[in-house]
Amino acid sequence: MKITNDIIESHGLKLEEYSKIKLLLSREPNFLELGIFSAMWNEHCSYKSSKVHLKKLPIKNKNVIQGPGENAGVIDIGDDDAIVFKIESHNHPSFIEPYQGAATGVGGILRDVFTMGARPIALLNSIHFGDPKNKKTKNLLNGVVSGIGGYGNCIGIPTVAGETKFNSTYNENILVNAMAVGLANKKKIFYSKAKGINKPVVYVGSKTGRDGIHGASMASAEFDENTEEKKPTVQVGDPFTEKLLMEACLELMKKDSIISIQDMGAAGLTSSSVEMAHKGNLGIELDLDKVPCREENMSPYEMMLSESQERMLIILEDGKENEAKKIFNKWDLDFVVIGKTTDTKNLSLKYKNKTVATIPIEALSSKAPLYDRKWTKKKLDKKKINLKDLKKIKFDDAFFKIISSPNHSNKKWVTEQFDQMVMGDTIERSGTNAAVVKIHGKEKAIAVTVDSSANYCKSHPLSGGKQIVCESWRNLVAVGAKPIAITNCLNFGNPENPEIMGQFAENILGIKEACEFLDYPVVSGNVSFYNGTNKNNIFPTPVIGGVGLIQNINRIQNHRFKKIDSQIILIGKTFGHLNQSVFINELYNLYDGMPPEVNLLNEKNNGDIILKLINAGNIRSVHDVSAGGIILALAEMSLSSNIGIKINKPKKLYNLFNYFFGEDQSRYLIEVDKNNYPKIEKILKDNNIYFDNIGVTQEEYFELDKVLKINVKELYELNNRWYNNFNGLNS
């Protein structure tokens, strides 16, 4: 078939890129080869626009075993235990088919984790939807939530934390990011790097179908009259098969048979085989007649580009085929040797006794295009919110409106669709600062969280990047965990637009700065560009997934008030920053001005002191202060415990809105025994920590002196009402 400009473009390749392909091959590619190039050179696999920036991120500390570059990051948590984790986006598929898109997103990230030899122990997700008033939102929301649950529940891994947010910026492009966390023996981590020549390359898992073959639709129309039947189809997840695949892989990993292993994710067989060969500096030869196919007459093009789920590629040690095959047969899974490693450094494909493609591995990997795209710096938005210029609003009305808003109402309707308890080790479930999962059979636990602050990042990507890393760190600290490392999913608009590229570049700088200061490196991640429609890019939305270690499970903290008549202390300084706050967003729909400033030194000091107090057993409960300010943090503490508060009016001449709704960073609220107060006051003073003694817990009423008084039960009603109304359950 003649390769025309139309065909090239429909494969998402630029004409210059096509010239480069010809140069690398010293000839024209055939149609199959073109498809392979397009899969490997697209943004998703090649990271061509992001690589130069990602390189700046700190990726090491004394706990990091494996940083970015493998299927997932690996950190050391003592003894022989390692935690393996990564986050990934599945935004576009989820917009097209929310249930399957979200489900396969979960399936994909789980494979990244168990491929490395880890048993997954927790799932998290960050999901962003458009305005609830948008016609599409309800269907997308319900589909995504049940898809995430559908996959995780069935495979039996608890979904323990996440975030669900709404903003009209996502009307035409929702975000579905899934994170998986696994536990491995640190001496038994598996990597994707191939080693040795003539080693068997084995295909295991589900059969290959015509799922998700990109760009193929138009092209295949030309060589087949049954175009209707060849439409690229949506990937359907099969969590049951994935469960079998996971158990089979983990069983095989107990033996010494695997040289390297790689899941088939984006660009399926193509990217997995190329990646393994590339890392080992080898060639790979595949016999496509052997690939297990679901449909008849699948072409090499379809086999190589299919994104069918629940498949893996394994390179075995010589003579281990039988032993391995037995295990996969036990789990009723396909196990077929489809090729071997070679010393040619080529990807070489055979079909019906003919060589149908020969491409140097380098051309697909290290020689793929790399762009240092033009980017512009974000101008400081000097607009200052002045409450006097805005429509007057009553304090309690503002609070009630926020507490019952889609973004801040109770998310039980989401989390109750997720099995959070399966595996029997979930100590803290969704809804607290961070989820806590025990290391099975041991006296230690990990804490995990995902966070994002899109509007901070939109108004100032640099501060936003810093802030979101700090918030993640703060969340872990607040359960008593020592933060260790993060994974990140960078959801941005079109990188060919210099403004968007600027958001990306600066955001990375912000993340870098905070990670370095807090010794909280990045060990894995994912970049998702092209979120949005032509001119309408989404707010830049980096999502940070953090993991921390709790050495002693008896020192875990949470944000639920424990007792009546405890002292409530606010740690950290309050300035009353309202630009970009929930208060301004929700009540005035304004998104101007700078986000709150992040002072890394204060962040670190305040966090360290909180950890110290928790470890000394000096705290009854603790909550970090983030979006929504002090009042929302207090409300969450009350709502989760059914204990009220009585807060004194601030001594200084604060405006009440600034004081209670301001989103200054690095702050925590702690509940302490009154008798302990002098001791704690001394510790705080000795360590130069700024703090205010703001009030006490009390029975029944959520009360800000002379400003607001409401029964906690009523507050609970307000906080729980939104979803039922939205979903028509009460109508």
């Binding site: 097209i96 088919e97 399957q100 589900s206 179908g209 015509r210 799922d211 039947e229 060849k230 439409k231 189809t233 949506v234 990937q235 359907v236 997840g237 099969d238 049951f240 098969t241 679901r294 449909e295 069918s308 789920q309 009723d332």
Partner: protein, 79 residues
Amino acid sequence: MKFAVIITLKKDVLDPQGKVIEQTLQSMGVNSLKNLRQGKYIELELNETDEKKAHNSIEDMCKKLLVNLIIEEYKIKKI
């Protein structure tokens, strides 16, 4: 008037459920089974005497709620 809507997965879409049922039957000794796909069957009773109108209204329900047109297709039958 009574109608049935038969909803099946489009041809190339994976049917994990059908696959497992097929394998189970085969392992139970059903050798002649070549292929099995599972779909949905919905029976509707309408207060409507005009068949054409009823049909149209069911078409509408299919598109708006009953069928996921991205992965499924459907047939409507009077019963």
